[in-house]
């Protein structure tokens, strides 16, 4: 690695058992054209600070483990490259808006709880409940296209770190979970929209969003949660009208 360039990288450290509060540590990391932020962290762990903790696994931007703040912006470490920061210093910090567990590891249990709360599964219509395992639901490519993009979320949490609403109100269901809710609502195999409406239309549902759109800007998989939430507002309004005319 003789021709490698060097970048100064400042990393947030926090060890709950010994540090009263987070602090910063700076390292000189050699890099080449292909070096990702994740590989820079490997280098730091292997050569300077074996005690540095961070989550990672797939290295190919699909497992969602390595969301973190790079120069103040939520990114996947494995899909962010040092070459794009050439001539600048780099700071790496844990995802914002989540409690820090240790170093770059945050506590995402709130995100997980919200994803699981909104009933993210097919709730079949009564007629489909006993569909035999010898055939599929008919779903045309156009019907799939309606939700396809919203089914690409990897649960990395970057959108929650970007969301100004979640920052001030932790009860807000938030971008990823609302997108997932909408994804199932508009899947033609699903009949659970009325059941999920309690989450969709609640004050912490789609109406909690102030449409800043930063979630979509930072989403590493181009899921566009802001768009799902805006469409969710239309859905919520429609549900409301339907409920007016069709009381239970």
């Amino acid at each position: 690695m003789a021709n490698d360039k060097i970048m100064k990288i400042t990393v947030t450290r926090y060890r709950p058992e010994q540090d009263a509060e987070p602090f910063q540590q700076t390292f000189d990391v050699p890099y080449h054209n292909e070096t990702s932020v994740l590989e820079a962290l490997f280098y730091i762990k292997d050569h300077f600070e074996p005690s540095l903790s961070f989550r990672w696994s797939c290295r190919m931007a699909v497992c969602g483990s390595c969301g973190m703040m790079v120069n103040g912006v939520p990114h996947l470490a494995c899909k962010t490259f040092l070459r794009d920061y050439e001539g600048k210093a780099m700071t790496i910090a844990p995802l914002e808006n989540f409690p820090i567990e240790r170093d770059l590891v945050v506590d995402i249990s709130d995100l997980i709880e919200k994803i699981e709360r909104i009933k993210p599964y097919i709730i079949p219509a009564a007629k489909d409940k006993n569909m035999p395992l010898t055939k599929e639901y008919r779903q045309t490519p156009q019907q799939m296209e309606a939700y396809r993009q919203f089914a690409q979320c990897i649960n990395c949490g970057c959108c929650y770190a970007a969301c100004p609403q979640y920052k001030i109100n932790k009860d807000y269901i938030g971008p990823a979970a609302l997108t997932l809710l909408y994804r199932y609502d508009i899947d033609n195999r699903d009949a659970g929209s009325a059941i999920r409406d309690e989450f969709l239309s609640s004050e912490n549902g789609v109406w909690g969003c102030t449409f800043v759109g930063y979630c979509s800007e930072v989403c590493p998989k181009h899921v566009d949660p802001a768009s799902a939430i805006q469409l969710g507002k239309v859905k919520s309004a429609t549900n409301y009208v339907i409920k007016m005319f069709k009381p239970e």
Partner: protein
């Protein structure tokens, strides 16, 4: 230590573990399930599978054809009764996932579409664009949350199995988030921890694929089968090894050497098929072992392409056009652009073979039960017997759900047959002993580097048990691994914390991987023939270069020897029901062989 009583403990929450958990919950909602994983379920490496899952659906296809492709693809080292069961249950499991919301790609009429895959006679690979594993895993995870009996232990790392009276009765694990140990007593334990690709330096696998479950079982004397069969996927991105799915070739992608020549025609896969007209079991749709071996031979002939990051061949998709590529292979386009700076719409992608899959694993019967009562295994960590000496692409994703379900049902039945919870002083003593051993690692003094040991292991495995193998280099690898294990005992931890101490966890993981690596190389050196992914160059007058059914139409069994600390190797019979071993052929040769067989049958 906190103690939890459960009915079924499942270790691993990828495709197999989640499917097993759902099966237990559906078999009997009153059964308590502990689903334990060292990561959140959606981080499991199932997520990275791209191409798809095989299940017979077309009118011109049949279970018999899937069976024959699988057994021949495995070079006749498959358990044929298990393969029969497998092919019978694939399609219903794929429909089940469809009903749960998996977005399988469709035909214009709204029915499920299938694509071509290597070594498969008829297109039968269900796919969700090129994110099939991702969609399967998220569908299973999201579906699983509606079952209240599934209690998840996310980010819990398993340290040992609890075994009394020769039966597996629980596990002891470590809660990374809170830094505490937990003892989980169970009536049945299902291992679903995935493969061990991280034993090799260059692999497609996530950092978590360290062979944990295989090592846990192995250390308790459970039989580990066919570990010499390690799959090299022919098309990994140069440098990082990220997978370019076989679906690329299924959709019509072709491979060129430095002379822009489709070299696969020189390796029994021809004749050349026209570009843009892929033909099943020809050329680029040959099986993975053959295609990877062809690369090795091209390299020897000096016909690969030299890049700063190493030698490669070109995977050319440009003729497929932007619209089709973005529809069928969107992730491939994204990955090639991000990690290689290549746009597959415009340029060929430099690729080379890369370690991808562990064909062997914990020996089980067709119901996923090991020979240790109470211990079951499924998915990549298991050897249920469907892959033989070479797995066909798209058989493993569907294996996760077929045998995940089977494992769940088997475990549930066992749990229901045992009335009382297991809990006694001996189980507690074992759990405490495991805790003590784990904590003792903090007291180690020494100056060995964990990352150096990992690198030495990975490089030595590539060299000794790579695509082609010889005794001399395998002996070197055996020696390197032995030293690595000694050196591992002299790694001093700098991280003294308990919460999310990844240095400490990685050290234990590396110990697991080293044990699995030893199983691989000792199994390989004993197999003095060439079969599937295990190809040898040596033997008297090169005798090991050929398949030797007389001696080696057998499984390899590795059993841990407490005294030597090494595996004892033996052979066991292969179950052959209807499909007698024959020469394994592809391309035009296969068609000729089949015509001859049909003519003979007609007589």
């Amino acid at each position: 230590m906190e103690k939890i009583q459960t009915d079924v403990a499942i270790v691993g929450a990828g495709g197999t573990g989640l499917r097993a958990a759902i099966a237990v919950a559906q078999t009997n909602p009153s059964l308590r399930i502990a689903l334990i994983s060292k990561v959140y379920p959606m981080r499991s490496h199932t997520v990275a599978a791209e191409g798809g899952a095989a299940g017979v659906i077309r009118d011109d296809d049949s279970l018999q054809k899937h069976f024959e492709d699988t057994v021949a693809g495995g070079d006749w080292l498959c358990e044929q009764d298990v393969v029969e069961y497998f092919v019978r249950h694939t399609t219903e499991e794929l429909f089940q996932l469809e009903h749960w919301g998996c977005p399988w790609s469709r035909k214009p009429d709204g029915t499920v579409n299938v694509r071509r895959f290597g070594g498969m006679k008829v297109p039968r690979t269900w796919f969700a664009a090129d994110k099939s594993g991702f969609h399967m895993l998220h569908t299973l995870y999201q579906t699983s949350v509606q079952f209240p009996s599934i209690r998840r232990f996310d980010e819990h790392f398993v340290l040992d199995l609890l075994v009394t009276d020769g039966e597996c009765r629980g596990v002891v694990c470590y809660d990374l988030q809170n830094g505490v140990f937990r003892q989980i007593n169970a009536k049945a334990v299902v291992l679903a921890t995935g493969g061990a690709g991280r034993a090799y330096a260059f692999n497609t696998d996530g950092g978590i694929v360290t062979g944990d479950g295989i090592a846990l079982a192995y250390r308790h004397g459970v039989r580990i089968r066919d570990m010499e069969f390690v799959q090299y996927h022919p098309t990994g991105l140069l440098g990082c090894g990220i997978l370019m799915t076989e679906g690329c070739r299924g959709e019509g992608g072709v491979l060129y050497n430095k002379d822009h020549y489709r070299y696969l025609q020189d390796y029994g896969l021809g004749p050349e098929t026209p570009v843009g007209h892929p033909k099943n079991k020809y050329m680029e749709l040959g099986p993975r072992d053959r295609v990877s071996q062809a690369f090795w031979n091209e390299s020897k002939k000096g016909r690969t392409i030299k890049y700063p990051l190493g030698e490669a061949v070109h995977l050319d998709l440009t003729h497929l056009g932007e619209k089709y590529l973005h529809e069928r292979l969107p992730l491939i386009c994204e990955l090639a652009q991000t990690y290689s700076g290549v746009d597959p719409v415009k340029q060929p992608v430099p690729v080379r073979p890369v370690v991808h899959y562990t064909m062997g694993g914990i020996e089980t019967d067709g119901r996923t039960e090991t020979k240790m009562p109470g211990l079951l295994a499924g998915g990549e960590c298991a050897s249920v017997g469907i892959h033989g000496a070479n797995r066909l692409g798209s058989n493993s994703l569907v294996e996760t759900i077929v045998f995940g379900k089977t494992a769940g049902v088997s475990a549930a039945e066992r749990a229901m047959s045992i009335k009382k919870d297991y809990d006694n002083a001996e189980l507690t003593r074992q759990a405490e002993a495991a805790e003590k051993r784990a904590l003792a690692l903090f007291d180690v003094q020494g100056d060995e580097s964990m990352s150096k040991i990992r690198t030495d292991m990975g490089e030595s495995m590539e060299k000794g048990v790579g695509i082609y193998r010889e005794e001399t280099t395998m002996l070197e690898t055996i020696e390197v691994l032995k030293q690595c294990k000694q050196r591992l005992k002299k790694v001093a931890l700098t991280d003294r914390g308990r919460v999310f101490n990844t240095e400490w966890m990685n050290l234990i993981e590396l110990g697991y991987t080293l044990d699995v690596a030893e199983c691989m190389v000792h199994s390989a050196i004993n197999r003095k023939e060439s079969r599937g992914s295990h190809q040898r160059l040596d033997g008297p007058n090169g005798a090991y270069k050929e398949r030797d059914d007389k001696k080696f139409l057998k499984h390899t069994i590795a059993v841990y020897n407490q005294e030597t600390g090494l595996p004892d190797i033996s052979l066991s019979d292969v179950k052959i029901t209807t499909f007698k071993p024959a020469k394994r052929v592809y391309g035009a040769e296969a068609e000729a062989a089949e015509a001859a067989r049909k003519a003979k049958e007609a007589k």
